[in-house]
Every structure is written in structure tokens, then in C-alpha cells.
């Protein structure tokens, strides 16, 4: 083999830099990752509370292991740590921060994979239990007085089990990174007491090393006979957190063992096997979409031209865009300008692709998200002034706006600028917060009915109750036939009822909904008086597979388009 100079190395790495995964690999990996993320967060409460509890246990045991000096106290504490880690029966620990009322109790048994947590707050009890072998989650809230049984995803169950099993690995990894802790042993009330002083930690360094900030000091009490940890006290950022451990009984068999009342109502929301198959099928359709091409959607409010708009969707390899344009009226009824609106294009509501594209090329969309394959730009144009507002850029080398990345994806879904998810509903549900069931209607022979009941977080302490009903045609690639989305929250009631009136087929046989009508009914409480608004919107969709837009479409709209001349 030849000797490599620095120039050779740089040259070889340049070649390596050109290696790219195939588009098929990218699509597959992204789809899997997206599903993994969503499933994880469907169980966010569990993860947060559970990880916090597990992390506390880990840091407690970590304290015990951060001993570098060959002192006898350190050796003794090490033995305590090993004994506690090796314990495979029930472990119970109660954690509370001094001066704070809420406390939590965690129970787990690494041997049988059962984990349970209790959060005691002034509002009452929130209890959660995972039975990993059955992939089952059981949750209780004293606020609702209800026990809900949900399903754990395969990924979550295996990761949770790993967390329970891998404590010693976590500890040994921590030991290697934590030099300089000092320990002293003493006796206290028949227990061995170990006081640990940590070297000063830097929060930024901790973040860079992907770990929590070390506590300043810690004390650990252990049974001198069994060597099991009995109590730990950590001083972290001015707060004293105390954990008391017990072992063995009581065993936690059911959620009632956590103090949940026997008379609580029980609701099982686990999806049946047939529903899981359906959900996977819909997800697959979403992921596949219609591939590369362009689509034009027009929205016509028969009663009110101030709500006319049209959307353009496109995907070309790594480039994609979704944008909405105001159409028709140049002014809202309240007098506000609608200056960025474009004239109604010829052929409305079915303009040809050529007409639509040339019509919109220099127009300012009211909202847009566009990606050139490296950078993604999202933003709004002020309807009155035509000025770009809230432009978000992400990706790329000059990326000062990375922290705005979540807004881009959030915006795309919120603004419904992603075509496949407008056609096939996203119903992935895990945990105990929502329930999907198949429904039937004798007046809808052959149709697939799905009902989703979901509790949706609105803001701190405020939840909406969603009832979504979808009717699909399984003989035509699950084309939507009708949907009703009802949202009830303290802010009001919203209903979106959509009737799909026509469907068309592409030349390769794939179906898409070509015309539908959405009736929106909003009943909001305005200063004590309920006001109801009803709107009818007719939507016409044309899909042009394989069609392409010129490259400049896939650039930052805020830079490409001049502001409206006033």
C-alpha cells in the first residue's frame, strides 16, 4: 500500500463525500424514522415521567460508582452499587424535592419487565403502568376517575425493557467519564453513609457530552448487611432531591396496587388486529403519495369570494413545494386589503396546469413551504402589503435559523400543504389518549368506516375532545368518501364535514379525489354569546404525475419575489 500524503487524504475524502444513499433508501429510512418518532411521542407522558425516574435511579447508582481513589470507603460503596444493580426483584423508590409538595413513586422489576409510576400532585393521583410482556399500558387519572388500557408499540416496549436491563451498562459508561469524585464513609442510624463530593460541572460541557449536569454533592445510605441502597440525597442546582428505596414486597400486579380505586371505570382503547392492518395500509399510501409531479387545488366558496384560494403542490426528486394563493377579491368585507390575491385564472375551478403555473409564477403566496433539496424555506406574504413575513430557513451551511426548523414541518402540516395527508387520514394511535374503531353503516355497503376519539392537547390544562369519522372506499385505494371532524374545546365547537363528490384515475390507474365540498361550522363563545358561522368550500384537485416546474420554483420565495407595488 502506498504512503498517503495530506493531499491524497483530502482527495480520497472528496470522493467519499459524493457517496449518497439511493432515493429508495432515503424514503425507506425517513418513513421508518418518522413512524418511530411519532410512536414515541404518542407516549410522551410515559417517556418523560419514566425516563426521569429511571434517570434518577441511574444517577443515584452513578454516584456510587464515581469513585476513583482506591480508598476502602470507595470500595465499599462500589460493592453496594453492584449489589443494588444486581438485584432482580421489585425495586420501589419514592422521590421528592425538599419544599415541594408533589412526589413520585416508581416501582419496577427488571426480571419480569413491569414498570409502574405514581405522580402525587395537589390535583390528585396520576398513575401509569407498563406490562412489557403484554405490550400493555394502563393509565389512571383521578381527574377523570377512569382507567384506560392502551397498547405499547414494539419499539417502545423493547427500549423500555432495555432501560431496565441496562442500568449496569449505564453506570459503567458513566464511571469512565467521571473522574475526581471524592467519597467518605461513616455510620448513621445503623446504616453505612457515603458522602460524595463531585468536581464542579459545566452545563455546556454536560450538554456537549449528551448527559445531565452532575450534582454538586450526594449522600447515599446503604444497609451494611445486604449492601442495598436505602436512601440517596442529591444536591442539584440548589435543590435537595431525596429518594428512599425499598425492595421486595409489595409486588405490583395491577394498577389497583398503586392506590387506584377499584370502582374506577375501565376503558380498553387498544386497536384490534384488523385496525392495525388498516392503519399500516393508510400510512403506506401516505408515504408513497403520488410521487414526482405537480398538483393544483382550487378552493371556491360559492357564497363568498373573499375566501377563494388555490394551492400548488410539486415534488421533483429532492425538491418539493406546497403553497397557497389568494384568488379573486382584493379586499375582505371588513375593508382589509387582499392585495396579493391573483385574478381568477381562466378555466376556474379547473385551470389547466400551464395556465395555473404561469398565473402563479410571479404571485406571492399567502403561505408557502419549499425545499431545494438542501434548504427548506417557509413563510407568509402579508396579504395587504405583499411583504414577506416570518421567513424561515433551515438546512445548508449558512444556517443561523436552525432553531426555527420545527416551525417548517409544523407549518406544512398545519397549513395542509402536504397533499397525501389531506387525502389519507393520519390515524396512528398508541397509548391511552385515543381510540380507533371500525364502524359500519348499512347505508354504506362496501365502505370502510373509521372512528377516532382523541383527547388533544391545546394548551396548559386545556384539552380538546376530537371525534373524527372517516368513510373510505377500499376498492379504490382507500379513496375518501366522507369525513367528519368534530372538535370540542373550551374555546368553542368546530365541525368540518367533507363530502367527496368525484374521483378520477391517473393514466396508470391510481385514484385521487378530484372534487369535494367541506362545510365548516364554528360555534364559538364570544363574550358570553354563542356565535355560529357556516361556510361551504368546494375544492377541485388535479394531479399531473411526471410534470415538472422550472428550477426557480424551488428557491426561497421571499428572495425570488419582489414586494407588491403599492
Amino acid at each position: 500500500m502506498r504512503d498517503l500524503s495530506e493531499r491524497d487524504i483530502v482527495h480520497l475524502m472528496k470522493g467519499l463525500a459524493k457517496v449518497q444513499p439511493s432515493s429508495e433508501e432515503v424514503v425507506r429510512a425517513r418513513a421508518t424514522a418518522r413512524r418511530t418518532i411519532m410512536r414515541r411521542y404518542a407516549m410522551q407522558w410515559r417517556m418523560v415521567s419514566g425516563i426521569a425516574a429511571a434517570a434518577f435511579l441511574a444517577i443515584t447508582v452513578m454516584v456510587i460508582n464515581f469513585i476513583q481513589q482506591p480508598a476502602s470507603a470507595a470500595e465499599m460503596l462500589q460493592r453496594v452499587a453492584e449489589t443494588s444493580q444486581g438485584y432482580r426483584g421489585w425495586v420501589h423508590f419514592r422521590t421528592e424535592a425538599k419544599g415541594q409538595q408533589p412526589y413520585s413513586v416508581t416501582h419496577f422489576n427488571a426480571k419480569n419487565g413491569v414498570w409502574a409510576g405514581e405522580d402525587h400532585t395537589p390535583e390528585g393521583l396520576e398513575a401509569k403502568m407498563y406490562v412489557l410482556a403484554e405490550k400493555k399500558e394502563v393509565a389512571y387519572s383521578s381527574r377523570s376517575g377512569e382507567i384506560r388500557i392502551g397498547e405499547l408499540s414494539e419499539t417502545f416496549a423493547s427500549e423500555w425493557k432495555k432501560q431496565l436491563d441496562d442500568q449496569p451498562l449505564t453506570v459503567s459508561a458513566a464511571v469512565a467519564r467521571m473522574p475526581g469524585a471524592k467519597v467518605a464513609e461513616s455510620k448513621e442510624a445503623g446504616l453505612s453513609r457515603f458522602d460524595v463530593v463531585f468536581p464542579k460541572d459545566d452545563p455546556q460541557k454536560a450538554a456537549a457530552e449528551h448527559r445531565s449536569v452532575y450534582p454538586e454533592t450526594a449522600a447515599v445510605w446503604a444497609d451494611p448487611e445486604t449492601k442495598l441502597v436505602k436512601k440517596a440525597e442529591l444536591h442539584i442546582a440548589g435543590t435537595i432531591v431525596t429518594t428512599v428505596y425499598t425492595y421486595g414486597n409489595p409486588t405490583i400486579e395491577t394498577i389497583y396496587d398503586l392506590g387506584v380505586p377499584r370502582e374506577a371505570k375501565v376503558t380498553d382503547v387498544r386497536p384490534a388486529k384488523d385496525i392495525k392492518t388498516i392503519l399500516a395500509r393508510l400510512r403506506k399510501r401516505q408515504d408513497a403519495g403520488y410521487g414526482d409531479g405537480v398538483a393544483v387545488l382550487t378552493n371556491t366558496d360559492a357564497a363568498d369570494p373573499q375566501y377563494w384560494s388555490m394551492c400548488l403542490f410539486a415534488r421533483q426528486g429532492r425538491n418539493w413545494l406546497g403553497c397557497r394563493y389568494l384568488v379573486g377579491a382584493r379586499q375582505y368585507h371588513n375593508g382589509s386589503p387582499r392585495a396579493i390575491a391573483v385574478d381568477v385564472p381562466a378555466g376556474w375551478p379547473w385551470p389547466s396546469l400551464e395556465v395555473a403555473v404561469s398565473h402563479l409564477k410571479q404571485a406571492r403566496p399567502s403561505e408557502y413551504v419549499v425545499s431545494d433539496g438542501t434548504h427548506t424555506y417557509g413563510g407568509y406574504f402579508n396579504a395587504a402589503t405583499g411583504e414577506a413575513e416570518r421567513t424561515i430557513q433551515s438546512g445548508g451551511p449558512k444556517d443561523a435559523g436552525q432553531k426555527l426548523v420545527p416551525m417548517v414541518s409544523d407549518m406544512r402540516s398545519k397549513l395542509e400543504l402536504d397533499l397525501p395527508t389531506r387525502i389519507w387520514p393520519d390515524l396512528a394511535t398508541y397509548g391511552t389518549g385515543s381510540k380507533v374503531e371500525v364502524i359500519t353503516d348499512k347505508n354504506r355497503p362496501g365502505q370502510l368506516g373509521l372512528r377516532v376519539d382523541a383527547k388533544v392537547y391545546i394548551r396548559q390544562g386545556v384539552y380538546a375532545q376530537d371525534i373524527n369519522i372517516y368513510w373510505l372506499d377500499p376498492t379504490r385505494e382507500d379513496m375518501p368518501i366522507e369525513s367528519t371532524i368534530q372538535i370540542s374545546s373550551p374555546d368553542g365547537k368546530f365541525e368540518f364535514k367533507t363530502l367527496y363528490l368525484e374521483h378520477k384515475q391517473l393514466s396508470d390507474g391510481r385514484w385521487y379525489p378530484s372534487r369535494w365540498r367541506t362545510t365548516t361550522t364554528v360555534t364559538a363563545d364570544r363574550k358570553g354569546a354563542a356565535a355560529t358561522v357556516v361556510r361551504d368550500m368546494e375544492c377541485c384537485l388535479q394531479v399531473f404525475p411526471g410534470k415538472v416546474l422550472e428550477p426557480e420554483w424551488f428557491t426561497n420565495f421571499a428572495e425570488r419575489l419582489e414586494p407588491t407595488k403599492r
Partner: protein
């Protein structure tokens, strides 16, 4: 919401992260697996949620994951799995160069954290010094020094290995 942050990173950087994992592992199947592992870890990471530059954080984590995988000895050096891009070369030269790339990566995995990340970002990801500095929390000037030092270390260690291998 953190879910939006993680999904946003997947949306905007997913392809780049997968390409990075592929370049460092030279195995498409492993790159795909590590992608999943990466996003699971990002979902779990509190530091990621608080990071000023989450994209940079994700890249650092991807680099660490890929080299952890390499260090675990799970790679197959004989089966590179991907077609490296060396245009205008004979098949023999391509194989030889692919082996050299593998040798370089083996040495890079032995560098210190900072040097390894600097090398990867500059020479494999072809980032400018300014961006390398941003990702590593350094100035562009410091990043330049780090990258230079890293490539020097790689060359020296390759030379040491060459001597060791050729010693009878």
C-alpha cells in the same frame, strides 16, 4: 413541542444525516439502522431539545454513532457495500482507493472526539471552516486549526500503520 423539533430535523436534515452515516459506515443497511437509532436517541435527549443549533447537535450525534459502530468492530472491511465515486479510474484503482478510504476511516475513528468531528465535517462532509466552527462551538480560525491538526494526525497514524504492516 419536542416532537416537532425531532420531526423538523428529520424533514430538513434526514437525507444529509443518512448520507453522513453511509459515508462513515460504507454500509447502506447499517446507515439505515443507525438513522433509526439516531432519531430514537434524539427523541430521548434533553440536551438536544435545549440545543441552540439542533441540526448541528444531530450531526455530532450521528458522527459519534457511526464511529461507535465502527469501534464495535461490526464493519466488514471486505464488503464496502457502496460504490465510491472515483470517476475515470480503472476497476483495480477503484478497489485500491476504496481500501484506502477504509484505512483512513479506521484511523479517524481513533482520533479524539473533537479532531474526529472536525475531520468528518471538513473533509467528509466538505463543510467550510465557519460552519465546522459553528457546529463544534469554535471560531472559524480555531476550526481551521483543528481540521489541519486532524488531517496531520491521520497522515501520521497512517504512516505508523504502514510501517507496522510492512515490518517483517
Amino acid at each position: 413541542m419536542k416532537v416537532n423539533l425531532v420531526l423538523g430535523i428529520l424533514e430538513e436534515h434526514g437525507t444529509g444525516l443518512q448520507a453522513l452515516l453511509l459515508r462513515l459506515t460504507l454500509r447502506p443497511d447499517v446507515a439505515e439502522d443507525l438513522m433509526q437509532e439516531l432519531f430514537v436517541k434524539l427523541s430521548q435527549s434533553r440536551a438536544f431539545a435545549q440545543a441552540i443549533d439542533p441540526g448541528a447537535y444531530a450531526r455530532r450525534m450521528a458522527i459519534n454513532l457511526a464511529f461507535d459502530w465502527r469501534r464495535a468492530g461490526r464493519r466488514h472491511t471486505q464488503d464496502l457495500g457502496v460504490d465510491l465515486v472515483f470517476s475515470g479510474r480503472s476497476p483495480g484503482e477503484i478497489v485500491a482507493e476504496a481500501e484506502e478510504v477504509e484505512r483512513i476511516l479506521e484511523v479517524v475513528e481513533q482520533l479524539g472526539d473533537l479532531a474526529r468531528q472536525a475531520f468528518t465535517l471538513r473533509y467528509i462532509e466538505q463543510e467550510g471552516y465557519e460552519r465546522v466552527g459553528q457546529i463544534l462551538g469554535k471560531t472559524a480560525h480555531q476550526a481551521r486549526g483543528l481540521c489541519h491538526m486532524a488531517v496531520q494526525q491521520v497522515r501520521e497514524r497512517l504512516a505508523e500503520r504502514q510501517v507496522t504492516h510492512e515490518r517483517p
